[in-house]
Symmetry: C2
Subunit: 356 residues, 2 copies
């Protein structure tokens, strides 16, 4: 049986999901409020057909942030399958949609390219894809979406919706606003000093690249994640102001300290995850109550423990089960400790290289 | 006759200059305060020999900014040739060294790699290389350095030293400080939220890449270019503060306006210069007084007119001459107008494609 998916909103991310799913043999139908865009998605190989698919086992909502809750609700009405979205803000949609079949998500991938024309193969290969199962998300829906996303080559990080929003304010939203502001400052001065932009070398190009992206997604993002964005902006403003004082004072040591810390942090920025040589299986006995899977994987993410695979096995009577989580051996004890602190009784089992 | 050059300070830039000159057939000698580094430069093909070369027709000083004036003075004593430097700040060194054979310079190239190990072939190919002939720089020295730098594949922009410093504060110094601050904010929070840095996607990586560079060059740069850096930081802080207010107010149109302006500016950021199809020769009659060449090329840069080639021809009696400047036909009249406003009497001559 061919697996069937529906993509609602075939821009860069939706289109790239379509391409990736079709690579895996899925049948993909495409919906976009602009029929020309949906047609283009088919032409570019991001979908098989245009239109809704009541038989879709997976619907991916990739519309602008403000339109997501409505599109998710419609998908839940039309289909019996699981529904996920790819929006950059998660708390609002996690609150707005309380159906157990909905799994909020956010792939941390993209580019400054726009729309369906920017959709590419392999966009998610090795990328981080955040899933934010809410209090109402069913474990089975979460496990289903998680398995599909993993099949696209993404590394999954489970986070609470609110925590996700705080973190992306730091690594995505405020950097974007800062890039645009820097570009604006340079652009203002280039009216007076025409040679200025010819001096822009690689560093400036790198720093401002994301400001070439489409602006129209940002009013929704800034509205929905305003509190976290403003808080991070305040921190950035305060620290930039401190650095200004350091420069004014000619405080060489203070300047070196700031730059050295940044250098170390940048050099330690994790590269795309690679599978480690040694894996350990963490076995966690659980009651079959809703959200066990969410709680365990979210805790793992908080502890920066990457989960390579997981499985739930159920006991015969069905009320008890074991969650099997595969992690890097080097961090298995960290996860074990965290789980014990939460009242679980996990045990560890080393796997041979090559497993699972 | 093999042309001879001396590189003082064989880090990333000095080493890359050595590689590029040797590619052109030059004999290169390398001096570094660390003998191991000079030896490594020879090993990596960035120099032929270690040591000073009294016969060098060109000396390139590529030491940290604070050490440049001393190294330039020594090179001027040792050799009879022209001397240039590659420091990121130009007004102080242009004031400190008043010898006619010194041509302050600044290639807008580099990477976050450190030292001689980061030296690469082709670093300057298509890069912008600023030359800042001062009031005391001889036209002949300027023309000589300009021709050599052009032979390395760089596009030359002539700027007054002070103007250079104002512009690099915008496109280099403040962006660097901002990248380090952003990285610091993210790093601070990652102690509390271990998952944070795993969410850092391409945009954040691009924005913070330069903060991985060596910190020790920055105290000198910030000290020597403090006034311009603080002024640009103040502008950035003010505009980021305004953007914060826009977000707080939920002003969608205001936000879109800022982002749309940045997007347009970023998309119009000039790519590496390419030779145009049609060239025009601007002929400028001049008296043979010092600085004519500097004044004409600096004016061209202020008008954002790229000079592809130039030549000075002298009249028989030697007191008058003609500066021939080759520019894109599309901007030839702009340069003509600017020159006329300065009292010159330029004439234009269209060149066939393929010339010069």
């Amino acid at each position: 049986m061919t697996r069937r998916a529906m993509i609602i909103g075939t821009g860069l991310i939706g289109g790239s999901v379509g391409i990736a799913l079709r690579d895996q043999g899925w049948h993909v139908s495409a919906v976009d409020h602009d029929p020309e865009v949906a047609k283009r998605a088919v032409d570019l190989g991001a979908a098989d057909v245009i239109g809704q698919d009541p038989d879709a086992e997976l619907t991916v909502v990739a519309t602008p942030v403000g339109a997501i809750p409505g599109a998710v609700h419609r998908a839940l009405e039309i289909t019996q399958g699981v529904v996920t979205d790819v929006g950059s803000v998660k708390a609002t949609v996690a609150t707005a949609v309380t159906d157990g079949r909905f799994v909020p998500g956010h792939p941390m991938a993209g580019s400054e390219q726009d729309g369906i024309e920017g959709a590419v193969e392999g966009l998610f290969d090795g990328a981080t894809w955040v899933l934010c199962p809410s209090q109402s998300t069913d474990d089975s829906a979460y496990a289903a979406v998680r398995a599909i996303v993993a099949s696209l080559g993404a590394e999954i990080v489970a986070l609470e919706p609110k925590r996700h929003d705080e973190l992306v304010a730091v690594v995505s939203h405020v950097p974007h606003l800062t890039a645009a502001t820097l570009m604006g400052v340079a652009s203002d001065r280039s009216f007076e000093h025409r040679a200025l932009l010819r001096l822009a070398a690689g560093g400036f190009r790198d720093m401002t690249r994301i400001s070439a992206g489409r602006p129209d997604i940002w009013p929704d993002i800034c509205a929905e994640n305003r509190v976290a964005i403003v808080e991070v902006l305040d921190t950035l403003l305060a620290q930039l102001g401190q650095l200004r004082s350091t420069v004014v004072a000619g405080d060489r040591d203070g300047l070196l300290e700031v730059l050295e810390r940044a250098r170390i942090a940048r050099r330690n920025l994790p590269v795309r995850a690679v599978h480690p040589g040694k894996l350990t299986e963490v076995q966690v006995p659980v009651f079959d109550r809703p959200g066990e899977l969410r709680d365990i994987t979210t805790l793992a993410a908080e502890l920066d423990v990457n989960i390579y695979d997981f499985e739930i096995t159920h006991s015969a009577e069905g009320r008890r089960g074991i969650v099997h989580v595969i992690v890097d051996t080097a961090v298995a004890e960290r996860l074990q400790g965290g789980l014990m602190a939460q009242g679980y009784r996990p045990s560890l089992r080393a796997l041979d290289a090559g497993e699972p």
